[in-house]
């Protein structure tokens, strides 16, 4: 089994090894997907059938009924909307705020730059539980009558948006500042000499050039924020206000005996991230490796 080689004569000897490798990878990939395929299989079978014949059995009927039931019985649309209300503003705000910080630290040489970037980057690496107790108390203290449904920052979409933005902007500021540094600085220098304001430099020159990095981060952030379980679990108390991932935890309690329905519900929540991933695979993977310091 030799690796890619410039020597043409080796290609013939590579063949059997290649086939072996394909057999191995195909087998491993299938085994890797087994838990997911098992969940899909369970979700496709009626509860009555599996309770009678057991889950490991040939199917008499395969139906999407569990999916439609999970969707309607648990009012999933409502929770999807909750997630949307949190994640769309959170992603946009994170990108906007962190790109401004990145612009500041990467295009100018203020003394504070390194410290600022360190604060952001280190903050993002902390485990969330380190800050949750005071944050929870703080959210309970902040009164926002009329602005949020709960009248507080606690138990509100706004509260979730703020902590997502604060936490994730550390990662994005780090990645974007690296990216901005790689842009030729003559660009902004010339603009500055021409009398352009810093805002114009940021908005019209630097930001448009950061589009690839922004796209990668947007993909990554959407998936992370969509998948968030912890912040919503602690900072949201009303079941109604929960985003989809943490709502699922409550839902599973409601139909805990019916594994098929739980499987269908869990798979339904995963669909949006899977769509984003399959459509924007390159951006997602690019984003992960762009700032691999992320925990």
């Amino acid at each position: 089994m030799s690796t890619v080689s410039a020597l043409g004569k080796q290609r013939t000897s590579v063949r059997p090894a290649r086939i072996l490798l394909h057999v191995f990878l195909a087998g491993a990939a299938l085994a890797w997907l087994a838990p997911l395929l098992w969940a899909i299989y369970a979700a496709l079978r009626p509860y009555s059938e599996t309770s009678e014949k057991g889950y490991v059995s040939w199917p008499d009927t395969l139906t999407f009924e569990n999916f439609t039931n999970a969707f309607t019985q648990s009012d999933m649309t409502h929770y999807f909307v909750n997630t949307l209300i949190v994640s769309v503003p959170a992603v946009l705000l994170t990108l906007f705020l962190s790109s401004m910080v990145a612009f500041y630290v990467s295009r100018f040489d203020f003394r504070i730059n390194l410290a600022l970037l360190l604060v952001f980057t280190a903050g993002n690496l902390l485990p969330q539980q380190v800050i949750i107790t005071p944050l929870y108390r703080l959210y309970l203290l902040i009164d926002l009558p009329g602005i949020t449904m709960s009248g507080k920052l606690y138990d509100s979409a706004l509260g979730l948006i703020l902590i997502h933005v604060a936490f994730q902007s550390g990662f994005c500021a780090f990645v974007l500042s690296n990216y901005m540094r790689s842009l030729p600085h003559e660009l902004t220098e010339a603009a500055l000499v021409d009398g352009a304001s810093v805002w114009r430099m940021y908005w019209q020159i630097v930001l448009p050039l950061c589009r690839p990095a922004m796209a990668a981060l947007a993909t990554l952030l959407s998936i992370w924020i969509y998948n968030d379980f912890f912040w919503a679990l602690v900072l949201i108390s009303t079941g109604e206000n929960m985003p989809i991932t943490s709502a699922l935890n409550n839902l599973s309690g409601q139909f805990f005996t019916d594994n098929n329905l739980v499987a269908a519900g869990a798979l339904l929540t995963a669909i949006p991230t899977l769509i984003v991933y399959f459509l924007l695979q390159r951006q997602f993977v690019g984003g992960l490796t762009l700032g691999a310091n992320k925990g």
């Binding site: 690796t3 910080v101 903050g123 380190v130 790689s182 003559e186 912890f230 995963a270 992960l288």
Partner: protein, 331 residues
């Protein structure tokens, strides 16, 4: 990861200095002007201050002030009702935690086990898969997607999916091995000797794909001529990997190590969904959280656990950031 070819704007850039600065009248000429900073008008400075200031205030207020508050609260007792109820107790919380909490040392141990397992099993496995997929074979994208798919799912969903595998009477494993009848049950989720390993298999399932992607990116950066030279010297595949490829992956290895430690410290969702962190699967993160969403509201005590978590995290984060930023400065 830092960009190797990042350029830091040097102070006293000759190009900028050669141009007569139109805005220089506004700037006091006391210090030697650095770079193009002296071109900034007062309005620009104000705008810049806002641009960096607002995000910084938000980040510091919600992340660092709360982290600091955790440290302060760790030395107090508080039931969360009214600020006058906060009482300074010194090291009492820590003393109780270290000597009198039956869940604390198991939790520390499980966090360590979590790290050791992730670094010993999914990490080499991810590296192995990455090396295989880096061979420019057909369907590489299909295989990659299969291994990577779990990373896209939320930990909560992964928890539900694996419950279907582990469930004592209806789960895949027990059904296959015939342990799904009363009397024969293997309780993967409830047995304190088994549940940590069961949940770690699910965690490893996800972690492998993550590691694979990081290593694939690292391998893409390996100079192809190194491989050719090694092949010409007659090295076999393993020798080439061990002596040529692996040493060049050092930056990736550092990132992998840091990512894995932080994942081990952050572990929460999967266990919470799996069995709520019951006996056998205690984790520091679970202990902190149960002080908030559980019945007891012992804020000082919960904060003391958070401080332990913070201390361990900083031991990893600080050296990593120092080395990362030092490299960046030199670039």
């Amino acid at each position: 990861m830092t960009n190797a070819d990042t350029t830091i704007e040097k102070s006293g850039n000759p190009e900028a200095a050669a141009v007569p600065p139109p805005g220089s009248a506004h700037v006091p000429a006391k210090k030697v002007p650095q770079g193009h900073k002296r071109l900034l008008t007062a309005r620009d400075r104000f705008a810049l201050g806002l641009m960096a200031g607002l995000p910084t205030i938000l980040h510091i207020a919600l992340v660092w002030v709360t982290a600091l508050a955790s440290i302060l609260l760790a030395f107090t007792t508080w039931d969360g009702i009214g600020f006058d109820a906060i009482q300074w107790v010194g090291l009492e919380n820590f003393k109780e935690l270290f000597t009198n909490n039956p869940q604390f040392w198991p939790a520390v141990e499980h966090n360590v086990v979590w790290f050791v397992v992730l670094i010993l099993i999914p990490t080499p496995l991810g590296l192995f898969l990455a090396v295989q997929l880096d061979k420019k074979i057909r369907f590489s994208r299909v295989y990659q997607t299969a291994f990577f798919l779990p990373v896209v799912l939320s930990m909560a969903v992964i928890g539900f999916v694996w419950q279907l595998v582990y469930n004592p009477d209806t789960g895949l494993i027990n059904s296959l091995i015939g342990a799904n009848e009363p009397g024969k049950y293997i309780d993967w989720i409830g047995d304190p000797d088994l549940n940590l390993w069961a949940v770690l298999i699910a965690a490893s399932w996800r972690h492998t794909g993550y590691m694979m992607i990081l290593y694939l990116a690292g391998l893409k950066g390996v100079d192809p001529s190194l491989r050719e030279a090694s092949a010409l010297d007659g090295a076999n595949e393993w020798q080439t990997f061990k002596n040529v490829i692996f040493p060049t992956l050092r930056p990736t290895n550092t990132v992998v190590l840091v990512v894995t430690i932080i994942e081990a410290l952050r572990a929460f969702d999967l266990v919470f969904v799996f069995n709520g962190g019951a006996e056998g699967t205690e984790l520091l993160s679970i202990l902190v959280t149960s002080n908030i969403i559980g019945e007891s509201s012992r804020i000082g005590y919960g904060s003391a656990i958070a401080v332990v978590l913070l201390a361990i995290s900083l031991v990893v984060i600080i050296p990593y950031l120092i080395s990362t930023f030092r490299k960046e400065r030199q670039a």
